[in-house]
Structures are given as C-alpha cells and as structure tokens.
C-alpha cells in the first residue's frame, strides 16, 4: 500500500509553518532541543520498518517531564499532531513521523530511577533500554522478563506502547504482565498515574488499556516494572524433524503433557540453513524443521522436565534430540535463532518480516497454507516462530530493485488474512502501526473499530496523538480494507484443501 498519511482517508491535518512552530516552541518550552534542518531530520524519518519514510515537521528531544508537558500543552492548543518515539526499533511503522507533526523523541529519558530489590521492582524512565534494566538488576539476582529480539536497543517506553513480547512470553507473559505502574501525560499535558505499586489499583484497568496502545492515548514518562528472580537452572533442547507438521504436533504434545517451557521456538529449513551459514550454531541443515525448547526453574524440576520433553520429542518423530551440554552450547543454540532475521537478510536482497498469531492447533494447516501462498506469489518464505504461543514470523524474501515489493506486501497481507481466518490475529507483538492499518479492517468490523475510536477519544478527543496509526478510519476501510479479499488467488476459498 501507499504508506504515506492520506488526509482523504486518514482525516485532515492542519498545515503548520515549520519556522513558526519552532519559534513558538522555543518560546513556550525553555531549554527544549529542537531539530528542524533537513539533514538533522533525516535520521528520524523512519523506525525499524525502514521501507516507510516521512520527514517530520520537526524533532523534539526533551530532557525533562516538564518540557514534555509544555510541548503537549502547546501542541494541543495549536492542534499540532504528535508522534512519540523511543529508540525507533519498532517493526510496524508505529513511530513513522508525520510531515505535519512533531516527532517527540523520548530517548533522553534514559535513567534508572530506582531498583527496589526487596519489592522486586524497578522505576525507570521511558528511554531506558530493555536490556539495561536486566543488567542493572543482575547484581540483585533479578531480571526483567520480556525480551523482544531488539532488547539491546529498544526502550521500555516503546515496549509499553507495543506491549512487547519476546521468546519467553508463554511462561512469563508480555509487557502488560510485567509492569505495575505508569506515569503518563495526556495530550492535554495532564499528569496521570495508571496502576500502582500494589498489585492492583482502584477503578478501570487503564494500565492494561494503555499497554499496547501504540502512542495513541498518551506519553509514558515513567514505568515501574516487576523484576523476577533468576531461575536456578536453564537448559535447552534442540530437536530435528524430517517434516514441519511433525514438529508442529510435537509442540502440542509438550504443552499437552503439562509442561510450560520458558521458550519454545521453531525454524523451518530455509531459516535453519540461513542461520547456520551465518552463525554456525551447529544446526542440522538437512532438517525440515527444528524446535528449540528451553526449560527453566529449580534444578531438579528442570532435570525432570528435560527428560520428559526429550521422550516426547522422540515419540513425536524427532530424528535427533540434543541437550545443550553447558551454558556455552545453550547460548550457541540460541544465537542461531536470535540472529535468524539478519541471517535471512544475507540470503536475500530484502526481506519482509510478518507477525501473525494463530491457535497452536492450526500450525500444520497454516504452514501448509503459507507454503502454497509462497508458490502462488513466486516468493520464498523462511519461517521462524514462537511456536509455544502460536506467534509466526514468516520472512518473505524479495528484491525491491527487481520490483518485487508490491508482491511481497500482497503475500504478507494474504498470510495475515489466513491467520485471521483460522481464528488468529494480524499482529502478535509488532503492533499495527502504519503497516497493518488496512488489515485491521479484516480483523475488526466497523462497530468494533467505532468502539476503538470512542476509547481513543476518551483520552485524546482532538485525535492529535499518532493519527493514522493503529486503528483505521471507517473511511479507510471502505476504501482499502476489502482490497485483499477481491484480489484473486487468495487463500480463503482453498482453505479446506490445506
């Protein structure tokens, strides 16, 4: 799709003169760092979805909450849209700037305010990197559980906006399960506390509503996260399979046996070969699929579960099961998985990372469906996914210079629609952002979207926070939403044959 903000379907925005806004902000927000020269703006024109680029009206880099408050008051009064950004690692264009809007970069809020080891909590500013929290907590034997693959760079504020996950979600949950309290600013510049230091707070659960709201409801200025005690023991098993369906069935077997692994990941042959070629993790390059199953907890329980899982994997038809001998080998097994995306990047000029979720039982059917779609569209797909929680990351390989971008996007759309068709979702952890704005029309009907707009309006009645993201207007759905459905060669009619 054309990703640029389209006033005809996304809603009108007011034109503002850049120089005038800069001058007014300088006046109203003392000490605020503002970037407005073209060359300074360029690094901010995209987030992790680098195919989408828009130059913002200006970039603001506040150092204090008071500056953010003043900036929002100004933007609210003058009706200037505001797009918040942390490290800009998001993969759905959620921090894609607006030509007519301020890009509010929260990266300078990078201080860990307090770690309370006794209560197992940390109070951190929104620009603190995800991994930095665990590093700071390590000396107390604690860590922060959600670990999105971008964790060395992504910020906790962005994690809250996206409800970020990672490879350990099945057991340890998403961001929403691991935060206690948020300090936010509304678009009007009002300070509000959501949640509390206790395990619950009176009234509606606005903390849950806010988490994953993609910068549409307010700006996070402080996060209190829960910290967990590091597990005593962590082991990982790698199982090879001669076909993908057996690997998928093994996943259900493990969970059906009452074992909740810390991580349960799957890669198909194309992903295995790419990763092995890049990282030399010791992956079996002839296997149709591998499963990585991590078990953590008390030493004796881990031992017991590893034995059970190994037996289950063999019974499920695994051709080879290897238990990482030591921590070094465990890290090596994971290194292949964690570098799967860049590894695929080496075997294709471009790749497009998808993020659908499905009920686990649908894994074999959906994988067969993806294979069929891949053949129909004539583009290779490498599959890497969080098998334990049914979160797929098909990587579509294409060459933008050969004019394959549109075909890749169409294939991606078809894969997501297949996910919705089997009862899943168009996004498990990357968010809707700008990327999946049209697919939202497939997942939700107009009444559901209208309710979402009502929720948004309760926080931001003027619609100034991140317009054009997350929830499509009904107008957009009428215009573009049904596009894929009529697009020929699509999965729905053939579903039964998978």
């Amino acid at each position: 799709m054309s990703y640029e903000y389209n006033e005809a379907v996304d809603g009108p925005l007011i034109d503002h003169d850049r120089a005038a806004v800069v001058a007014q902000l300088r006046d109203r927000v003392p000490g605020l760092t503002i970037l407005h020269d073209m060359e300074d703006l360029l690094p901010y024109e995209c987030d992790g979805l680098s195919a989408y680029r828009t130059t913002p009206l200006l970039v603001a880099l506040p150092d204090t909450v008071e500056q953010v408050e003043r900036l929002l008051r100004y933007a609210h009064a003058e009706r200037v849209p505001v797009v918040a950004r942390g490290a800009g690692t998001g993969l759905s264009g959620g921090a894609l700037p607006l030509e007519k809007g301020i890009l509010l970069v929260m990266a300078r809020f990078n201080r860990i305010v307090q770690i309370d080891a006794e209560a197992s909590t940390a109070r951190v500013q929104p620009g603190v990197r995800n991994l930095a929290i665990s590093q700071a907590a390590a000396k107390y034997g604690l860590y922060y559980a959600p670990d999105p693959s971008s964790q060395i760079a992504c910020t906790i504020g962005g994690n809250v906006a996206e409800n970020a996950g990672g490879v350990h979600c099945l057991k340890y949950g998403l961001t929403v399960h691991n935060i206690l309290r948020l300090e936010i600013l509304t678009m009007e510049g009002e300070r509000v506390t959501l949640g509390s230091n206790a395990l619950d707070a009176p009234g509606f659960d606005l903390l849950a509503l806010f988490t994953g709201s993609e910068g549409m409801l307010g700006i996070v200025t402080e996060v209190t996260v829960k910290l967990l005690t590091k597990p005593q023991s962590t082991r990982v098993l790698m199982a090879s399979f001669g076909d993908v369906e057996r690997a998928a069935a093994a996943v259900a077997e493990i969970i059906g046996a009452g074992i909740i692994p810390g991580g349960l990941e799957m890669m198909d042959n194309l992903a295995i070969r790419a990763a092995e070629d890049f990282i030399h993790a010791g992956y079996p390059v002839d296997a149709a699929a591998i499963l990585l199953c991590e078990i953590d907890g008390a030493e004796s329980d881990v031992q017991e579960d590893c034995e059970k899982v190994e037996a289950l994997l063999r019974a499920a038809g695994s051709t080879d099961v290897r238990l990482a001998r030591d921590e070094a080998e465990r890290q090596q097994f994971w290194a292949g998985r964690k570098n799967a995306f860049p590894a695929v990047g080496r075997i294709s000029p471009d790749y497009y990372c998808m993020d659908g979720t499905i009920p686990r039982r649908e894994l074999p059917r959906v994988l067969a469906g993806i294979e069929q779609l891949s053949a129909e569209y004539g583009l290779r797909v490498a599959n890497v996914f969080h098998a334990g929680d049914g979160n797929l990351h098909p990587l579509i390989l294409f060459d933008a210079n050969a004019g394959e971008t549109e075909r890749a996007e169409a294939l991606g759309g078809a894969i997501l629609e297949l996910c919705v068709k089997v009862g899943g979702s168009i996004t498990g952890e990357h968010g809707v952002g700008r990327e999946k704005i049209n697919q939202m029309c497939t997942q939700f009907n107009s009444d559901e979207l209208t309710l979402f707009h009502s929720l948004k309006a309760a926080f931001d009645p003027k619609g100034l926070l991140n317009p054009g993201k997350n929830i499509p207007t009904l107008h957009r759905c009428a215009e573009f939403g049904s596009m894929h459905v009529h697009h020929g060669a699509l999965p729905f009619p053939e579903l039964e044959r998978f």
Partner: protein
C-alpha cells in the same frame, strides 16, 4: 428464569434487552450468580435486572491450547469441574462462592485468590471476550491466541470494570496445567519473624504459591515439580497443613472472616513492612494483601492504605453510606467519566456501581 442449567446461547435475548434499555434510557443491573453485590457503591432502584445465567456453557476447550472459551453465565462449578478433569486450572484462583459465581462475574469483578502474586490476576489471563456495548452491538475483542496486539485491549479493560462498560457475554481465558506436586505447611512464628522469612524466600526461587500469616501462624503453599517442592519443604520445615486452608482463604470462610466487624481488603506494595492496624489483620499474598477486621472509620483505613502506597476496599457488612471502592485521583476521575460517557452514552450499564457518573 428459564433454562438456568441448560447450556445455551442466549445472547440474542441479552442483546435485545440491552437494546430496549438503551431505547428507554433505563439502567440495567447486570447479574450472574449475584455473589458480589456487597461490592457496590449504590443500588439503582429503577434499574431492571439482566441475568446472564441463561447464557451459559463452555464453547471451546482444548487443553493443549491452554485456553477455555465459555459463555458468561457458566457457573464456576462447571468451569472448575471441566478444567479439573483435564488436570488444568485457572491460576488466578478466583473465589467461586460455592460454585455459584459465574465466569462473567469473575471477570467483571476481577477478584483473584491466594495465588495471585505468583501467577497473575484474572485480567492477566484474559485473552478475549464478547461484549454487548452501549450502542447495543454484540462485539468481539481479542481472541483465543496467546499474543494479540491488534487494536486496544478491550478484553483486559473489561476485567474488573464491574459491568460499567458493557455486558460481558463470552470469555476466552488462558488456563495452565496443575502443578505436579503441591504441599502445604504451617509455621508457628511471630509476625516480625514471618516478615523476615517472607523477604528471604522472595529472593530465592522457592516454588511458593501462597503465603498467609494469620493468628500467629505462617501458612505456606508450595507447588511445582516433586523435586523442587521437596527441597523447599526440607528447607522451610514446619507442620503439614490441609490444602483446604487455601480454598477457605479464597472463599473468605476461615473463622477470621466470621468476626462481625467491618472487613477491609488492603492492597499494598510488595514488601510493605508490618504496620500497626486498628483491628485484627490477616496477611495474604505474602503481605501484598491484608485483610482487616475493624471498627475504625473508613477515612482512617483509607488513610492508612494510601499512606502505605496502596488502597483499601470495603468488603462488608453492607453500608450504603460508604463506597466500598477507594476514591480516585482527580485526573483518573475525569478519564473514567470520559470512558463511561463514550462507551455507554445512555448510561445503562450498572450506573454508579463503582463511582458516581461511572
């Protein structure tokens, strides 16, 4: 009341009744098992009652998916029986009120049991719901998948909203396998010693899933693999305790709760030290939840809870002059009213049950 015990889809009737209420601007009191009427700010005499129990039955449950989808009116006795047969459970351990609480009521009230600090709350396990909205539409949010960040998280917002934002008609909730080993012990300790032990245990990875200090005794539940539970037992010591203690605590059926004075629930930050409370207290959730039997004024109790960084909820006996729920800070009051106004523009859903104008 027709068909209470026959599982059936009665959502059309519920939707029609909501539509009528909207058309006539008449408020509705939503009820399931009517087990939590003690948690209500006020009754609305002119309201009509919408009983969800006719809309009941488990819609889908495949244990290897770790999800159960059931209609709101399904009694918890049924939910627990079916989960139990598959060796699974709702880890948040909501009170069941002899099984007559409904799944819809459990979600709408969001009350969790003794395992909550270690497992998560009712809302943590919410994956999706269906809701009859303030515009009379029957809509679906979330789903049965473990991860889903499409759109706003309406289903988690519905949890604990006490029916003020719509009628929950169906719930998809994450479930987990029951632990392989479970043991329960009791230790005779002074309160201060118990706090020291709790703090020490917090820093280790002991498989604790319940910790309650009551009447000079620290009650501990351990759940996990055989090995970890056994080694924790070896380490902690103590005398065996019947597992029924945790059910009685969850249902507030221990003798402590029989005291005729007012019962308060204080929700406090982890690791809140012992505090002097005006009355008799039971520490639950390893100290993060404290039950208080007292004759002290609500002002005093709220002041104490607030001062400790938490909040207090009044559990009874009924008193129409006191709101059971803690007052909200001013900016939150505004957001609550805005949400109510926009999601329930005719003000039909449990108006005033939580707060004025909400």
């Amino acid at each position: 009341m027709r068909g209470i015990l026959i599982p059936m889809d009665d959502s059309d009737r519920l939707t029609d009744e909501v539509a009528q209420a909207i058309a006539s601007n008449r408020p509705i009191n939503i009820r399931g098992g009517d087990t939590k009427s003690f948690l209500a700010r006020c009754a609305t005499p002119e309201a009509m009652t919408l009983d969800t129990r006719s809309h009941s039955g488990i819609v889908r449950y495949d244990p290897s998916e770790l999800v159960m989808t059931a209609r709101a009116g399904t009694p918890m006795s049924e939910v627990s029986k079916v989960l139990d047969a598959a060796g699974q459970m709702l880890p948040c351990e909501p009170p069941e009120f002899s099984g007559s609480a409904t799944l819809g009521g459990v979600v709408a009230s969001g009350l969790s049991g003794p395992r909550r600090p270690w497992s998560g709350s009712v809302r943590d396990f919410m994956l999706g719901c269906r809701l009859i909205t303030g515009r009379g539409k029957h809509l679906r949010f979330g789903g049965e998948v473990m991860k889903n960040v499409a759109g706003y998280d309406m289903s988690r917002l519905a949890a604990g909203s006490f029916g003020c934002l719509g009628v929950i008609t169906e719930v998809s909730i994450k479930v987990l396998p029951k632990p392989r080993a479970r043991r329960s012990i009791v230790l005779e300790l002074a309160a201060s010693e118990a706090m020291v032990e709790l703090s020490r245990w917090r820093r280790t990875a002991l498989p604790i899933t319940g910790a309650c200090y009551l009447d000079g005794r620290l009650h501990v539940r351990l759940e996990g693999g055989e090995g970890s539970v056994q080694s924790a037992l070896d380490r902690i010591g103590g005398d065996a305790l019947d597992m029924s203690f945790w059910t009685a605590l969850r249902e507030r059926e221990l003798p402590f709760f029989g005291d005729p004075r007012t019962l308060w629930r204080l929700s406090l930050p982890n690791a809140t030290p012992l505090m002097s409370l005006p009355g008799d207290a039971a520490l639950d959730w390893g100290g993060a939840q404290r039950w208080l039997k007292t004759s002290a004024s609500s002002t005093e109790i709220r002041w104490i809870a607030h001062g400790a960084g938490g909040h207090a909820t009044r559990y009874g006996p009924p008193d129409t002059t006191v709101n059971p729920f803690a007052p909200l800070a001013e900016p939150l009051v505004r957001l609550h009213r805005e949400l109510k106004k926009r999601l329930d523009p005719h003000g039909v859903f449990n108006p005033g049950r939580l707060y004025a104008d909400v």
